[in-house]
């Protein structure tokens, strides 16, 4: 069923009796050409592009809970392509272009909102770094604009511009950046993949990976053994656990990241703002809640909840940047498990096991990557080699030294 304004009108007249489930509830078949483990945004996008661009539709996405129950449904929904390093920026700009056409491609309203992403700076040195990054973005075909304090003031007048310690001296603006509705991205990819014949199998946890003679044969699951020609892992925070089933030890630590929403208020922030003097970012949802977050907690965790020092730290940054939020009540907080890679950049690659592919290391920035991640992972699985866009995102870069060290934080996941 194609969604359209005509369909809505028709269903309105028919008492909404004609809507069907957006995807089928499938029982696993004995064998698939490709099994994708993990029904987050990346796994579902991979299945969609495998079917759409590579003609491989005998695909199952296996999800241990419900689709979108992991980070895809827990993130703060910021999308942007404002990276510095060549290995990253081409990839994220490709993702931005896919976001721009996603609703037409999926026939689903993913609520992509190009409200802009504004990275504030507070010193001359930070301004220089922002200018350098902006130049790199523009050289890669993305948009970037250096704003002075007066220009920022016209956009967001309630920021604490004249803060004694961290005055706001300007910002790097990417107007094409913004937000998208995270759940809708999951549902849109699931529905589009399903319509091309992909089986989306929920409540199906992978408990083992069968490898014979160095080649993957299938997966053990809570719903029985399923054979596969190829297996792609897109398990985000649980990547190390699942990869260990095939004997792989990875350059990844799992850490918890928290996010917060306030009670709903009238429009205050009509863009996405990041604080340059601390790790803090904020936007406002369509319901009126401020949506914000900051640093990871900084220790290994699979608990999907963090501890109080980060709550305090994020709240302090919020009030430092927007003093008018001081009396606002925090409504909810939650946590998700980040697959923190050792250099802070992702991995989309083959592995030492033939037919087993890895998509991981997204840290706290993988939502914006969802379209390009699925696009590149599908290519890598279908052709058994990386596309030029993910050529730098290799698993062996930690051995060869070709790191993508975007933040210069080295091999310390808790510093990225």
């Amino acid at each position: 069923m194609t969604y359209s304004v005509w369909r809505i009108a028709r269903e309105a007249l028919r008492g909404n009796s004609g809507w069907q489930p957006a995807w089928r509830d499938q029982a696993p078949k004995p064998r698939y050409d490709v099994i994708v483990v993990g029904g987050g945004g990346h796994g579902l996008a991979t299945a969609h592009y495998l079917a759409k661009l590579h003609g491989i539709a005998n695909v199952a996405v296996l999800e241990k809970g419900w689709i979108g129950s992991g980070n895809a449904g827990r993130n703060t929904t910021i999308i942007r392509s404002n990276y510095l390093l060549p290995g990253n920026e081409v990839f994220y700009e490709h993702s931005m272009k896919l976001w721009e056409g996603l609703e037409q491609d999926l026939n689903f309203n993913t609520m992509v909102s190009q409200r802009g992403v504004l990275n504030l700076f507070h010193s001359d040195a930070e301004r220089d770094a922002a200018a350098r990054r902006g130049n790199s973005m523009r050289l890669h075909g993305a948009d970037g604009e250096l704003l002075d304090a007066a220009q920022v003031r016209t956009m967001v007048p309630l920021l604490d511009f004249d803060n004694a310690r961290f005055p706001i001296t300007g910002g790097l603006m990417q107007r094409r950046g913004g937000t998208a509705r995270h759940d809708a991205v999951v549902w849109g990819y699931a529905r589009a993949a399903d319509r091309r014949g992909v089986d989306i199998i929920q409540n199906c946890e992978v408990t083992g990976i069968r490898v014979e003679g160095g080649r993957v044969r299938g997966v053990e699951t809570t719903r029985g053994y399923i054979g596969a020609g190829k297996v792609g892992l897109a398990c985000a925070g649980n990547t190390s656990r699942v990869a260990a089933m095939a004997g792989l030890r990875l350059p990844i630590e799992s850490h918890v990241l928290q996010a917060f929403v306030s009670e709903a208020i009238k429009p205050l922030v009509d863009t996405v703002i990041t604080f340059g003097a601390g790790h803090f970012y904020i936007s406002q949802s369509d319901k009126g809640s401020l949506v914000f977050g900051g640093d990871i907690d900084g220790y290994n965790s699979y608990a999907q909840r963090g501890s109080l020092p980060i709550v305090e730290d994020v709240a302090e940054a919020c009030v430092a940047l927007l003093p008018c939020t001081g009396r606002l009540r925090m409504l909810r907080s939650w946590g998700g498990i980040m697959d923190m890679s050792m250099d802070g950049s992702p991995i989309i690659d083959r592995t030492s096991v033939e037919g087993l592919y890895l998509n991981a290391g997204w840290c706290y920035g993988g939502f914006k990557a969802t379209p390009a991640s699925g696009w590149c992972f599908a290519h890598t699985i279908a052709h058994d080699e990386a596309h030029a866009l993910n050529a730098a995102m290799r698993l062996d870069r930690f051995a060869t030294g070709a790191l993508i060290d975007e933040k210069g934080a080295g091999a310390q996941p808790n510093l990225h």
Partner: protein
């Protein structure tokens, strides 16, 4: 999360600095690049009990080996590094 420091008593985790898995065997100086790669970059990243290094930077400044469950954050044991790794 609160960590019971053997020297200072139970303190909030923001008094401590985290340094990841404890007891990774440091390769000898003449080890191969592959051994150094494994040591610097690869981690078990367990789902469950994890032995890890924390430094009590805002207290006694001692390095501690904490055994903590990564699923629940419940701490099973804390030892001064001189006792734990000797």
């Amino acid at each position: 999360m609160r960590i019971p420091c053997p020297h200072c008593g139970e303190r909030g985790n923001d008094e401590f600095l985290y340094r990841g898995a404890a007891g990774l065997p440091r390769p000898p100086a003449d080890a191969t690049e592959a051994q150094w790669h494994d040591y610097v970059y690869l981690r078990d990243n367990p789902y469950g009990s994890h032995r890890e290094l924390w430094q009590h930077v805002h207290g006694c400044r001692r390095w501690l080996v904490v055994t903590r469950d990564t699923r629940t954050h419940v701490i099973a044991a804390v030892t001064d590094v001189s006792m734990a790794l000797s």
